[in-house]
Symmetry: C2
Subunit: 477 residues, 2 copies
């Protein structure tokens, strides 16, 4: 048997079907490579089938031995060969040097996220449409909920429910609906094939089924089950919640507990965060790998950077659209502006779209197709960043009165953004030891126009006196 590095090795065994295997049977395996042993929980997948999934992070031979409180499942041994990853497989995403992300093989990862909260609950036709849209879109991260969603424009029942039971007769939180999880895994695997990280939201408040108000034991059973099933997917990120602060049945200690449980159960230490509505969770806590923020003022990225010393992901800064809600009615211009503003300050700002639709198919929750004008511009921004040196850091290159932020690499490279104002010029301070070329970028029109001549030291840069202008400044070799 062969599994590629950061691929999924899956061991399937037959075991008991009587009683409630979800709670009665403990099952897992130890995976061993050289002198390293990794404890991995397995899960019950219905019909007497038990599985354990494992994501090897080193090439070579891995040996395993199962453990269980059930003799049929206990003490099975075997091994498999971990081979080179395929070309598109760079491993899971990790935090790099405090503020950045990179895949485990060192390839830079620049999050360009979008949100389709309930896309996996819309049935195959719509879900495949969403995947087709994503194949041509600039996004490499998807915020999505495990549980179905009940909210404005979101009144349809999901195809699958996570637990056995029904809305009418109640749910048996001790019995998972394996169809639900198999379906979710399939979709997460399809995202992976598209190079998209699944920022998986474990809890959220928009609920009519009772999944947001389960008891403590059920919450934990659910978290253990989902981490056992999904941790081996290299594109998983754990988001404890969307708008955790709106979940009245939970308190801060619950969120701490969930973080710590995931930290304990996930053998691969995937990224962990929690997303606010009004009030931030303390992103400084040690189990939080990066900030996951809802906020409309992207100039604050600078402050959050300093405060948390972690990557700042602003998953939600309002959505391009035209619904009545103010969080879903910003123009494409404003969406692009906010994403540039936060990006140039060193953050990673997410997209979303909420255009009124006769059938209530809004991208932000159900997926489908994109109608807006921002994705094309985000593609342009992503290209600019991918053409830039790695691990850029935000600095202020303005002089006199105002800050003018730029992503920079030493004294060699600057990608600046002048905002929604329409300045006819900006004064900037470059090194007076070097010469620089400057290109004027129009973030909306998606043009790059070189300025004549070279620049050095403190200098005045003529601008087209319109909003959404950036500057690319490069040292002359």
């Amino acid at each position: 048997m062969m599994t590629e590095r950061w691929g999924i090795f899956e061991l399937t065994l037959n075991g008991p079907q009587t009683g409630n295997p979800f709670v009665d049977v403990t099952f897992g395996a130890l995976f061993k490579h050289q002198n390293r042993v990794i404890h991995t929980d397995g899960f019950y997948d219905g019909d007497g089938i038990y599985k354990v999934r494992f994501m090897p992070d080193k090439e070579g031979t891995w040996a395993y031995s199962t453990f269980s409180n059930c003799s049929e499942l206990d003490g099975m041994i075997g091994e498999f060969e971990c081979i080179m990853p395929s070309a598109q497989n760079h491993g899971p995403v990790r935090v790099k040097d405090e503020y950045h992300f990179a895949y485990e093989d060192g390839t830079p990862y620049l999050p360009f996220g979008t949100t389709c909260y309930a896309w996996i609950h819309q049935g195959d036709e719509m879900e495949e449409k969403t995947l087709a849209t994503l194949a041509d879109a600039p996004f490499n991260k998807m915020r999505m909920c495990v549980f179905p969603k009940h909210y404005d424009y979101n009144t349809n029942e999901p195809v699958y429910y996570p637990f056995e039971g029904s809305l009418e007769e109640g749910w048996d939180f001790t019995r998972f609906n394996v169809e639900f999880f198999r379906h979710m895994e399939k979709r997460i695997g399809e995202l992976l094939a598209l190079g998209i990280e699944a920022d998986l939201i474990l809890f959220h408040p928009y609920d009519r089924w009772g999944y947001s108000t389960m008891d403590c034991e059920s919450d934990e059973r659910y978290l253990r089950y989902i981490t056992a099933r999904l941790s081996a997917y290299r594109n998983i990120w754990w988001s404890m919640a969307n708008e955790y602060d709106l979940m009245q049945a939970k308190n801060l200690m619950d969120w701490d507990r969930f973080f710590k449980l995931i930290q304990q159960c996930d053998p691969y230490q995937h990224l962990r965060s929690v997303h606010n509505c009004h009030t931030f969770y303390d992103h400084g806590k040690p189990w939080v790998t990066h900030c996951s923020i809802q906020h409309s003022d992207l100039t604050k990225v600078t402050e959050w950077h300093k405060l948390y010393k972690k990557p700042v992901v602003v998953d939600e800064c309002c959505y391009e659209g035209n619904i009545a809600h103010n969080w879903g009615n910003i123009t494409a211009q404003e969406m692009v502006h906010r994403i540039w503003e936060g990006t140039i300050r060193g953050g990673y700002v997410g997209h979303g779209e909420t255009y009124v639709d006769p059938n209530d198919i809004l991208w932000w929750s159900k997926g489908g197709i994109l109608h807006g004008q921002s994705p094309e511009r985000l593609s342009f921004l992503r290209q600019l960043l991918e053409q830039s040196p790695q691990d850029l850091m935000p600095i202020d290159i303005g002089y006199s009165y105002d800050v003018l932020y730029a992503l920079s690499k030493n004294d060699e490279y600057f990608l600046a953004y002048c905002g929604s104002g329409q300045s006819a010029y900006k004064d900037i301070a470059l090194s007076d030891q070097s010469s620089y070329t400057i290109e004027v970028i129009d973030a909306w029109d998606m043009t790059v126009t070189p300025l004549d001549g070279v620049f050095r030291g403190k200098c005045r840069v003529k601008l087209p006196a319109k909003p959404y202008i950036g500057l690319r400044i490069r040292k002359v070799e």
Copy 2:
């Protein structure tokens, strides 16, 4: 002799020229109407001329008697007749019912302010050009400094200086330059003729002459002199400072002291305020008649209203223009948007303009001509307000998730604003006891389009799905 109500009665006397009449001679008059006596300070106007000016607020006979420490000026008596005001004369502006302004005769006053800080220091040609521009502009309040200004784009010397002396040899703060004050009075009188209130800034930090760092005695002598000269102009408002918090030579007690001194010296109790840069003065203090605010977030008007229980004037929310400074590079759209946003929340938001000019003639400081696209839209807004019932109060007419502010009169009239978003509809809550017509206003295109039918109770209003849309909602009679 006859003076119209709220006009200026001026008594001129000859007195001593020796010594320093500005400090040696006390002079003033008591003005009496029926059983009311008003103490009025006079001033020295050079060449042995002493004057006292008086703004009568009642029709009928006023008797006066002068007082002085100099026998030539003491004990002169006389009387004059105060007659009906002329058609355009409504008296000074007063605060009305906590949040509004009205002229003393009861005529509503809706501030539409602009700023030309140093316009009276630019020489006659430019100053007359400014007046000609104002004659065709929608503005009825002008923020302007007494002292000349030293700042970016403001490096020219003024024509007149307020004190005797020179920059090279120093100033004699005990001797006022009467030419300076006569010139300023002339300009203030010309504003009055155009129906424009002079929001006169007494101190400011942008100084190379030393007027921002005078000693305590000189500050007070200056304030007494200027109130003696100018209080009788009915269009005077006293602004203690522009950006008081940048004046490092003054502390909060100084500002309290200046307010109290003006309150004591001005017989007519003109409006008093002080303008911040970063940090607000406490507008709740009793000598402050209204808030004078610099801030870019106009949604906060709602909060300031509740906090201070006084009219909220936001004199500065950035300026339409294209200079490098972010406070002077907002688009005309954004300027119009901010003014609507603050207005509909019950505030009074000021205009300003800062377009780069080859001769550094920027409206915001020097006046001249207007280049921008916002004044026309402010004219449109002013018309809408003048066509509205008086004394509108802001309320939230939105339902479900978001606030939607409207200026309202009982259940009869609403002027709402949907902001910079592009909602395709809004849900509003009207009385279900009445029927209403609704017109859609495009604040940028300056159109008013009636919607078909009538509306009542909770209802959905279809919008053109673009930014800067207002609604005028009127009860069907």
